[in-house]
Amino acid sequence: MPSPTPRPGDPAVGLRTPSRPPAGAPTVLKVVIAGGFGAGKTTAVGAVSEITPLSTEEYLTEASADVDSLEGVEAKQTTTVAFDFGRLSLPDAPVPLELFLFGTPGQDRFVDLWYDLSRGAVGAVVLVDTRRLESSFTPVSFFEDIGLPFVVAVNQFDGAHRYHPEQVRAALELPASVPVVTCDARDPNHVAGVLLTLVGHAVKNAAAGPVRPTSTTTLQDA
């Protein structure tokens, strides 16, 4: 069946014409993937990234005693932190988008990096390895404190006892509003699902009013 010839004046045709992409680069959005040692951060980034996850190094200035040697080059004490970077493009989104994924370890010496990564981010995924549940406490309270929307994704490691998401919620003392889901970080459909859950959660948060990382948000927890 021949389709009707598009007329230039037809607004519906103009909207769907793929030959005229909007001028300008895709908008960049970012998501932080945090978790303890070996929780599956690199695996999760790699599952949906279009590039092999890159390990990137940054120096953080720190007053802590726990510092790596920097060959005495800088006067201040610095510590090297490595984090993962992955990206994926969503050219078929209503607005051309590129999503950056930053995988970052869960120790509190990374806090400066988390601030950087969280600024303007969609939200965060806290990957939980139930064998080391305690390593999730630091990132969870960090994202709670700064008011960044986050979801908790429980990795199902082979041989590990499988906890129900609600057990993990109770152990991490998470409010009912924070989604807790199970996932296999190796499966792109799972990781994409976690990202979708996060976006849904972020939309809900945004609808509930702008959350500002100020003291007022941490005081009231009704």
Partner: protein
Amino acid sequence: MRTYTLTRGRTKPRHLLGLETVLDAGPGRPGPAQAEECEEILALCRERRRSVTELAGRLRWPVTAVKILVSDLLDADVLVVPVTAPYAASDTDSDASPSTQLLAALSAGLKRKWPDAIAYPQAG
């Protein structure tokens, strides 16, 4: 290679660059005064837009070193920060949370890319 040698002792970038700041190749060319390493940055950005983090990861240099060299290249128009599609730039403040419009677009884009992705029902 350490930040110090790469940047000849400089420790602070002149431009305010984020980890996610994206760079594109511009009309300028690296001058003789610029570090050899600038050519490597330019070569990567010629292939496609690259974020500060991606450049650092690929070149295996610390982020700060990349930011310092990228600052030089921005001053010489060797690199430019690409302009994003106008309708997406609803927020003048790049530190602000993404708009609900952008979040909806992200959701739609993810669903199109992974139709079999399982999004969990929202609690609360």
